[in-house]
Amino acid sequence: MTPISLPRPILLLAVVALALFPLAASTFYVQLGAKIMILAIFALSLDLLVGHSGMISFGHAAYFGVAAYALALISPKYEAANLWLTLPAAMGVSALAALIIGFFVVRTTGVYFIMVTLAFAQMLYAVFHDTKAGGGSDGIYIYVRPELALAGWKPLDLENPTQFYYLALIFLIVVYVFLNRVLQATFGRALAGIRLNEQRMRSIGFPVFAYKLGAFVLAGALAGLAGYLAACQFGFVNPDILAWQQSGIVLMMVILGGMGRLHGAVLGAFSYVVLQEALSAPPLVGAYAKHWQLALGGLIVLIVLSLPRGIGGLLDGTLRRKNRPGEIP
């Protein structure tokens, strides 16, 4: 069986390294780091569906974008919103959207599921793009970032990039630990069973539809968390954040890192952002920086053909060899 997470000492090391990173890096890289961690949360939420439940959602950006819009729409214009109120509200809106859409899509399987999740996500895109509800195609600015105030106490100031970085890190750790627990609990075991053989689980008496819908809603809510943080960081939302390209890119992160592994989603987000920065940096690629997606598309094709288990899959081999010294590699 593939290990769903890395051994604890390696994880602790990674957390320490991430915590120390802002001390050594410039503001640009601190912001980039926060962006990577937000995308890692997004990829983790999708991997719950793709890697652990066998549901290939091609419309996951919808729940990311809905929460971002929720923050933009409920934030007062010239003062800070309260994170303790707006974050649960935004995640709640995403969860609700996932519940309603999930009610329709979870009854389909295979290639239907892919097309239907994409179509419903595109419907939400049309809602924000064509109607005036969210500022149309121009989007909305969030002038003041939400505040982390609790009865006068303000532990972190989100206007400060370094402090925002730590907030993203805390959320990433919470989501990682939470998913690790969920996947090892009955719920996660049942999802794994459904992924392998849905008929069997149904005949043993598991309410398959409820489990799948539950996973879909949970994944939607966590994508909403990522979307909320992304809207906080960029201070701007427009329909592009829930466009289907976004859904394709997060799916690519999950595959790139190796699906079905929690650390894979994080690795995938990291690799994707590094790739994007490298491919769109004029010093490296000259005039083609504007067309960086050409190289990205080519790379996706290469990865599918040559690296079916992702970067996380490469790690599996070394981990297993370490765990079982007697095994012939």
Binding site: F120, D130, G297, L305
Partner: protein, 285 residues
């Protein structure tokens, strides 16, 4: 009269969708590949028509050339990439063809830029039939309708009445059995894929004078085609025909009644069909 025009528009759009979605559903049914790059070929067809019409000065010459080029690209793509996906999970098919979309979009941006370009309606068909004093209907739209109908008929005839069609159907229902009966399945699949891409490009080429050519045009139509295939049922040509016309009407009616919500109406139709018949209207449960 106003409603007659809307009716004609709905039929024309519906038939164009049918041409596209029948290719998508056949390639999925026969090859087992979900091809996101389908929309890219629609775009390729339209841009080739735009470019070749400007180059040769003759729209009628541009169309067969565009078809031939798209067929060639389809051949290369199947042999180099798509062939490796037949036995793999849908997830990888989606991802690889998503990568292809990015490549084709950027190539389009490099060669043709990001502006919207109009394509002139060929002189032969550049007139309108007057219906009342103020309303008239462009002949070119009727021409598109007729071409779509002709191709649909040709498709039916090929699949149900010819030897090649028999092989395609055999390969569709059981790949191994067809191969053991002496059908060269890999060659057949290559041919089907390339022909599907050529047809899609043809749809893009003849639609270009109506819709103009613009960035992202392939993706927009791809998602509508998915809706059609979901409603019609995967692999079902009859289902695709009914669904295409239904979407054509829903979209056209939606634009007349409430333009802002017409895009949403199409998806609501899909949601209702999913509740009623999750396997699509063209397939048995």
């Amino acid at each position: 009269m106003f409603y007659l025009i809307q009716l004609l528009n709905a039929v024309q759009y519906g038939l164009l969708l049918f041409l596209l979605s029948s290719g998508l559903t056949l390639i999925f049914g026969i090859l087992g590949v979900i091809n996101l790059a389908h929309g890219s070929f629609y775009m390729i067809g339209a841009y080739l028509a735009y470019w070749l019409a400007k180059l040769t000065g003759n729209f009628w010459l541009a169309i067969p050339l565009a078809i031939a080029i798209a067929f060639a690209i389809g051949l290369v793509l199947e042999i180099a990439l798509i062939r490796r996906l037949y036995r793999r999970d849908h997830l990888y098919q989606v991802l690889l063809t998503f990568g292809l979309i990015l490549v084709f979009e950027e190539l389009r941006s490099i060669f043709f830029g990001d502006e919207v370009h109009g394509v002139a309606t060929p002189k032969l068909l550049d007139f309108s039939i007057p219906l009342t004093d103020t309303l008239s209907y462009p002949v070119y739209r009727l021409f598109v309708t007729v071409v779509c109908l002709a191709i649909a008929a040709l498709l039916y005839w090929t699949i149900y009445k010819t030897r090649i069609g028999m092989m395609i159907r055999a390969g569709n229902s059981n790949r191994e059995m067809a191969a053991s009966l002496g059908i060269n399945v890999p060659l057949l699949f290559t041919g089907v894929f390339a022909a599907g891409m050529a047809l899609t490009a043809l749809a893009g080429a003849i639609a270009a004078p109506i819709s103009s050519v613009f960035p992202g045009m392939g993706n927009q139509i791809l998602i509508i085609c998915f809706v059609v295939v979901v409603i019609g049922g995967i692999g079902s040509i009859n289902g695709a025909l009914i669904a295409s016309l239904a979407i054509g009407f829903a979209d056209t009616l939606g634009k007349v009644i409430a333009a802002e919500y017409s895009a949403i109406a199409v998806y609501l139709v899909m949601a209702l069909i999913l509740l009623w018949r999750p396997q699509g209207i063209g397939n048995q449960a």
